[in-house]
Symmetry: C2
Amino acid sequence: MDALSGQRPLGRIPVTNVTPLVEGGDFPLKAVVGEQIPVTATVFREGHDAVNANAVLTDPCGGEHVVSLVCTNAGLNLWEATIEADRVGSWSYRIEGWSDPYGTWEHDATIKVEAGVDVDLMLEEGARVLERALQVENRPESAQRMLGDAIQALRDESRPAAARLAAGAAPEVAQELRTRPLREHVSPTPDYPWLVERQLALYGAWYEFFPRSEGCYYDEAKGEWVTGTLRTAAQRLPAIAHMGFDVIYLTPVHPIGTINRKGPNNSLDAGPKDPGSPYAIGSKDGGHDAIEPTLGTFEDFDFFVAQAHRVGLEVALDIALQCAPDHPWVTSHPQWFTTRADGTIAHAENPPKKYQDIYPVNFDNDPAGIYAEVRRVIQVWIDHGVKIFRVDNPHTKPVEFWQWLISDVAQSHPDVIWLAEAFTQPAMMATLGKVGFQQSYTYYAWRNQRQELEEYMEELSLQSADYMRPSFWPTTHDILTPYMQYGGPAAWKVRAALAATLVPTYGIYAGYEMLEAVPRPGVEEQIDNEKYEFKNRRWEDYEPGGAKAGQLWMADYLRTLNEIRKAHPALHWLRNWRRQGADDENVMCFSKRHVDGGRDDTIIVVANVDPHTTRETWVHLDMPELGLGPNDSFVAKDLITGASWQWGQHNFVRVGRDAEPVHIIHVRRF
Amino acid sequence: MDALSGQRPLGRIPVTNVTPLVEGGDFPLKAVVGEQIPVTATVFREGHDAVNANAVLTDPCGGEHVVSLVCTNAGLNLWEATIEADRVGSWSYRIEGWSDPYGTWEHDATIKVEAGVDVDLMLEEGARVLERALQVENRPESAQRMLGDAIQALRDESRPAAARLAAGAAPEVAQELRTRPLREHVSPTPDYPWLVERQLALYGAWYEFFPRSEGCYYDEAKGEWVTGTLRTAAQRLPAIAHMGFDVIYLTPVHPIGTINRKGPNNSLDAGPKDPGSPYAIGSKDGGHDAIEPTLGTFEDFDFFVAQAHRVGLEVALDIALQCAPDHPWVTSHPQWFTTRADGTIAHAENPPKKYQDIYPVNFDNDPAGIYAEVRRVIQVWIDHGVKIFRVDNPHTKPVEFWQWLISDVAQSHPDVIWLAEAFTQPAMMATLGKVGFQQSYTYYAWRNQRQELEEYMEELSLQSADYMRPSFWPTTHDILTPYMQYGGPAAWKVRAALAATLVPTYGIYAGYEMLEAVPRPGVEEQIDNEKYEFKNRRWEDYEPGGAKAGQLWMADYLRTLNEIRKAHPALHWLRNWRRQGADDENVMCFSKRHVDGGRDDTIIVVANVDPHTTRETWVHLDMPELGLGPNDSFVAKDLITGASWQWGQHNFVRVGRDAEPVHIIHVRRF
């Protein structure tokens, strides 16, 4: 039997159309520990004999775990199971189809003995099938005895045929054969890659700040700003932890370039005291492996990380692989940049616009050199306790570089998480996920209407969940959409609540607490962008007795959201998002349900996405999706307000500006 | 740069989401010579530089053929091309993404020179790009001179900048760079298998008969039937060729078993003179490698094949891998059958039904032995001029057996075609196509309504065309649906015309000419099924002067259909089927268009699928799909009747019982 040119050998029992596969298995299926992943396959055979199937999950140590598949559509030969992994690492999975002699015999014998056809023959054949089943490995002694009794009964000619058949087809025999089946012609698919990562890769609440802003102040006497430092920024960590966040994300902490430094609002004429953009990296004080001296030292950084850990926060560091003209690489390794025909190094540009404070890195002249240097830089930060990297503009660097870097780091540090800030076209965004980025910023900020949010969630939770994990941010230091500029408090509540419940990971940029909503004219960005200047938010003014006491009201709302998230496993997952009905086109309703062992946790969210109007409407629930019958009722407890109602399939809601704009409802079953 | 665990290395310019791939490339994409296949890929890169892409087609001798892709959706980075192969064999194809320095320069220079930014620098960089382009292999001397002139002009500081730029960006320079591009960072996908077969694998008109019926007659004097033979059957070939068919398909010609032989209408009590079913194969006279003595000898078979070839017909032979109890294998190789617990050989059965005239082959006891024997049998028939096998019930034999057999035969006989008679579930039908069957019988006989036909055609022409080629049969010797039983002449015309135009391959079972529509009561099958008895159709009675002269009217209709098919390339292809609109839910309208070199052939079919009523309605054409503008008009010539009308986007039609039920319209453009 020769090789089959260009074909996968199917084996004796064909298994086709396995899902999920990322590009046919070119890239690993991604999951986190405990994530429930539905797998399907088409499994069938020739003729009428019984077929069966299982998945084999191979853990990172090579141990194999078998999960039975169930036929859910006989006409389409469709088989399904849910798989999950219990530890981090490189897993694989395959589907095995096999011939099921006991199933064949049970089906045929039941029909033929009843019809009086070949009765003794069928009973003897049943005894022989069970004799073979006795040889299956690891069958407990008690089960062996039980099968032995069945064999004896099948052959006991003193008993009526129906009784002999009943002994062979008894429920306990069938159950034992399901648990430890007699499998023939086992036909495996290839092993497909399955990358299992830690829970934070999927689920977490992030908070972003500029460390220099935390603790900075304007010295009226001297007429200049005094910078915040890693030490003063660390003082803000308990408040962030108190709001329930899991990750503190720092904008870059490296030395800031001085050549062509930008001033406030991206102006070209920075004054001598302007601090510059932390995204223009590198000066005489060092590059990506150094710390801006005004922020502190590595000792201070270590202190910051330790303080974060002490209050339960992980630290995410911004990695922006671009250089100010005075970055040390420019002189030490000019080949890592692009040299123009006139011998100068190329600035960043988007013709005809030029960005003269930035030299983009060129990865093509000396890939081995620049790859190794970036790898070294990353290790510096890993060695200082950073396990999360938020990558600035990864879509302006070669995809194959990230594919290599993330894979190489994972080999020694499988717990490292990379977030892609790729606000770009869908193909790039998807591919960065396929090659390893654990998380991606998304188009969430620009999806504000109900229909577009629903369509986007179907894409994210069903189509792309195998390779791309979304992170939802209502605002960032660069993004302030018109919806947030003009929507007022209702908009800020809706966008935070939706981000926190639609997907497992969301993030908040400092200042959300007090609705910093003033844009730079003509731009979807805050005025006085914190990238270019100090921003003293005067948190102390909001404390009891302060000038603005009680006005930091979004902080409590965020804390409530984070508490709800922590308390409800349904909100820890992505694939369980389900659209629910609502009559008003501006009222969005969806549910998330997670069943694990004994616990069945179900959340329903109702949100009015129109921040300007209070809306009253009816929501219509897909009850089976909630694990309920069509006429069941349940206690709907709004976790935002604590109110409870009795709900059923159809329910009246009032949400919006003059009420709470969002209900986050826990389903309490009777 | 280490290996990437479980990932396809993307290369410098990512290429993802290649289509078409059959199960991610597990099975070959199938095509015939000249078939136009649309390929797509997502091709993109980091940053703003220009990217480009091409397909590389590798022919069976290893020669490479490059086809440029065109970006058809910039936002989605979607690239497309149409590929086709010019000879039979195992091809492969891959997509290459690459960086396009000339495209990058042309884009940036146009903007910057116009804006007066970096003018001299950009012109010099253009000259350097063209200098590199000069090094590309195989550039003709004239093109080299043209590029050399452009380089000189770019550097000619005596000319205005706009003129220098125009020289570098001139249309002839751009065209030359499209034809022989300067490609950087060429990043290929893997080579995907692509099996190219001869045209008859996709396009042909088949005619089925039982050879013993052609020339048989009832000898009134002796009171018994005299069988037709291969020699008498050969006399019918010119009439079949005259109707325009391409393939004559013979039911099995092997010795018919005598043990438990079936009688008329599948009765269990065959008389001594009953000829038996040719599907109960094997007797003392031999098995699958022998010829039923009453039909003739191998010499007669060779004569039949030669006569067929003489009139332009290829011969298809029925292969039914099952045995009568007196087949020689039963004694020579009992291990090729299933032995029951009582030592007997298992009959075919579908519990509790038994088919005691048939022993199914068991492929599992001695796979190497039975594989080799079947391969030997197939070679016998190939050596006698058979290149087409119609396989009876392939879904009752292991799929991996067919995968091996078809692949093995193709290695020495790439022109052999296999038709799967797998009237079974979709998964089996699809997989038999994936593993090599060139053609499949389909559910066509049971798709009689407009909507179900349209949905089925979208599946066949768009979703499964990469691996499964449909063959449409209005009837077979085993299938006579209620639609055909009760629909009368209009039904028989509609079903033949739709079969002949919806898909490139269709087939007709003998007797269609005179509407043999009488069923065996309660069964979707003809009365007096030709499988079990002789059938003398008395063709001579329909000839001029005969008792039924002029009543063989479907023969002329079939001939017209086959002539239209031959004359119109649009009907030779599957992927070009397009749904068109019609107001009446029983009137189906579709189009097929094929453009090849200078010839643009377009056919529109309008069919009333209700055989009982004449219907008048409007059809609405998708004009761009026909290569026409929305307000264009054209001459619509009905190729069935010869009538011509002036048609545009919206047209009145009258089709059905009291008129022609089907228009086959050729679009003649002004």
